[in-house]
């Protein structure tokens, strides 16, 4: 058992999967340049030494290399495509949505697309075009699995499950959680390290995780917001408010079994999302809760999300944009109001 950062855990998971299965390979921008970065957030740093033929450095061509990843998957490989910033997924949208997600259905079930796509997201002092929370754009695409990891243990286990899954899996990672060191470190990074076992293990792609048990209210969150939710719960516990925190983790499909059990226990729900409110994943979860366990709700669902604006640059506005611990605390108080 070692204490690893998300970046280190992902690197280890990728290497282990590549050792296990020769069909696994990585492609992306700046992922395999000796002396380079190992991707924008150091996840693949040094892997080209052990796997010189399976770490493919691409041109700046997201549509092209995501398309190539889909084609390689169709032809029996298990590619891991790494986009530097989630925002660039828009450039690859056609290949992800029209090809990766649909080829199985269109072919009457004869084609599998075992593809992993990794995308860093989140507001981090870069202005509007390197900062978006992209999950909302993909959770509504049938044929894709969407996951979001918030700690190192999950990152490695989910990555391994994604590689072994026969479907296209889009994996979101948060720039403030990588814990990368040196020149690529992020100001404002949050500690998402965890104990990671030495042996092989996997984390399922369709299960939420109860991070903290509580009786009064359920807070649902993922990525950076899962950490902020846990901090809010600590603060509220001091006042005698007992918050259950669930890391939703699997954004498509959503684990209504785990979430529903919690809601039936607490009767009150706050959903925290870093992206804008309108059309967010939290909207889908809120509606899903009405369908799955609406009769258990003792109060209307409260959402804590960003305003419906592009991500601003100046720190004072960026901090006001992104949900934080005080806003989550306020959300909990609101849902508890009689």
């Amino acid at each position: 058992m070692r204490r690893l950062s998300i970046a280190e855990a992902l690197r280890e998971g990728i290497a282990e999967e590549m050792r296990r299965d020769p069909a696994v390979f990585c492609l992306g921008e700046d992922i395999a340049v000796p002396g380079g970065w190992g991707g924008a957030f150091t996840v693949t740093l040094g892997l080209e030494t052990e796997f010189p033929d399976r770490m493919l450095n691409t041109p700046i061509a997201e549509l092209g290399f995501f398309g190539a990843a889909v084609g390689a998957a169709v032809a029996g490989m298990r590619p891991i495509a790494d986009v530097q910033y989630g925002d660039f997924l828009f450039l690859a949208m056609d290949q992800i949505v029209n090809n990766a997600a649909k080829l199985r259905y269109m072919s009457g079930g004869t084609i599998a697309v075992p593809l992993v796509m990794r995308a860093p997201i989140g507001a981090t002092g870069r202005g509007s075009q390197h900062a978006q929370s992209m999950e909302r754009y993909f959770t509504g695409v049938p044929g894709l699995k969407v996951v979001a990891v918030s700690n190192a243990y999950d990152a490695k286990g989910v990555l391994k499950s994604a590689v072994r899954d026969d479907n296209p899996v889009l994996m979101f990672e948060h720039k403030l959680l990588y814990g990368s060191k040196g020149a690529r470190i992020e100001p404002g990074a949050v500690d998402a390290t965890s104990d990671v076992p030495d042996g092989d293990y996997t984390v399922p792609l369709d299960r939420a995780a109860v991070r903290r048990e509580g009786a009064h209210v359920t807070v649902l969150a993922w990525l950076l917001m899962a950490h902020f939710a846990a901090q809010a719960a600590e603060q509220l516990a001091a006042e005698g408010i007992d918050v259950e925190v669930i890391d939703v983790r699997s954004l498509s499909p959503i684990d209504y079994e785990t979430i529903g059990a919690s809601v039936r226990k607490t009767g009150r729900v706050v959903i925290v999302e870093e992206g804008p409110r309108v059309g967010g994943v939290s909207a889908e979860i809120a509606a899903g809760l009405m369908e799955h366990c609406g009769e258990s709700l003792l109060a209307p669902v409260v959402r804590v999300a960003s305003p419906d604006v592009p991500v601003p640059f100046t720190p004072i506005l960026e901090n006001a944009y992104r949900p934080d611990v005080p806003r989550i605390v306020e959300g909990v108080r609101r849902v508890l109001r009689p």
Binding site: R54, P59, G64, G67, A75, Q95
Partner: protein, 335 residues
């Protein structure tokens, strides 16, 4: 934009020395199968018994047959929304294609693909990628897989002249070029993207010349000469299989029908249409076969009659195929 007008088969005798008569007759028959399929489907569509939409390839039979006849069994093709001819040339049966067009569960994609997505992985054809240019990076990726596994396979990637304006063309061809991937990029230049003539949207004289900008070989070929297409593809496939990287073939042909259903095609000048009708790939190749004594006119007529009969039998069968059940709506989404 001028197309070459030289008569078919300058080197025909030379080629006949290389290819046995049954092979040549096979090329002819396959082109006739495509023509009769498309004409029959057009009728079925106009009479209202076929659902959906259709994009047809009458007049382009030589590109599909010429390319696919140069591929080995383990080679793959990717296709477009205009894929009936590619499918038939790659070995899908008239029945599996027709059943798919009728939306039957016995179709090549269980009725979930339809006209724009026909294909069969067992026959070496990815279901048609109907987003213009979308199949180009995908083909590069398939070829990447073969190269990484050291399999001697080649991908022939069909697309139209419209696709070269897409970013996907640039990105896919460039990736194949830098990684020396075994892809034959087959551009069927039929002069029209929907209703827009190619010279309205392209300054370049020749699409094949673009190959040079990626550091690969390009070649313009008379796409209505099935032997010329076959020969050019054979050479390109051979280069790919020997690790020399991708090749861009521009096949000059003509879209004789409208873009899709109910398009009367009024934007094509009559003299242009007439000129291309005189270059009909089937008539030209049939004439050559007669000229060289490979077949008599009557034998060619018999091939066409037999193909027509088989097609009509397939239509009768198609009308009685089982449709998917409503439970099939939600299957095949995830593995």
């Amino acid at each position: 934009m001028p197309h070459p007008t030289e008569s078919l088969g300058e080197h025909a005798q030379h080629l006949l020395d290389r290819y046995p008569a049954p092979f040549l007759l096979g090329l002819y028959e396959r082109m006739v199968v495509i023509r009769e399929f498309e004409e029959g489907v057009k009728f079925l569509f106009l009479e209202g018994s076929m659902p959906g939409t259709i994009h047809q390839c009458q007049g382009q039979e030589a590109t599909a047959v010429g390319v696919c006849s140069a591929l080995e069994e383990g080679d793959f093709i990717t296709s477009t929304f205009r894929g009936h001819g590619h499918a038939l040339a790659k070995g899908l049966s008239v029945e599996s294609l027709l059943f798919e067009l009728f939306g039957a569960s016995t179709g090549c994609c269980k009725g979930k693909g339809g006209s724009m997505h026909v294909g069969d992985m067992d026959k070496g054809m990815v279901p048609g990628i109907a987003i213009v240019g979308g199949g180009i990076p995908l083909a590069a990726g398939m070829a990447l897989a073969y190269k990484m596994r050291k399999e001697p396979r080649v991908v022939a990637c069909f697309f139209g002249d419209g696709a070269v304006a897409e970013g996907a063309f640039h990105e896919g061809v460039n990736l194949a070029a830098i990684w020396d991937l075994p892809v034959v990029f087959v551009c069927e230049n039929n002069l029209y993207g929907a209703s827009t003539r190619v010279d309205l949207v392209m300054r370049n004289e020749r699409i094949a010349e673009r190959a040079a900008t990626y550091g690969i070989r390009g070649q313009t070929v008379d796409g209505n000469d099935v032997l010329a297409v076959h020969q050019a593809t054979l050479t390109a496939v051979d280069e790919c299989r020997h690790g020399k990287g991708p090749v861009l073939l521009e096949l000059l042909t003509y879209r004789r029908t409208g873009h899709s259903r109910r398009d009367p095609c009024h934007y094509q000048p009559q003299d242009e249409r007439d000129t291309w009708l005189q270059r009909d790939p089937i008539d030209r190749f049939g004439g050559l076969l007669i000229e060289l004594g490979v077949a008599a006119a009557g034998a060619l007529d018999q091939i066409r009659a037999d193909v027509q009969t088989r097609f009509q039998d397939a239509v009768v069968e198609a009308r009685h195929q089982p449709l998917p059940t409503l439970a099939d709506l939600t299957t095949d989404v995830l593995a």
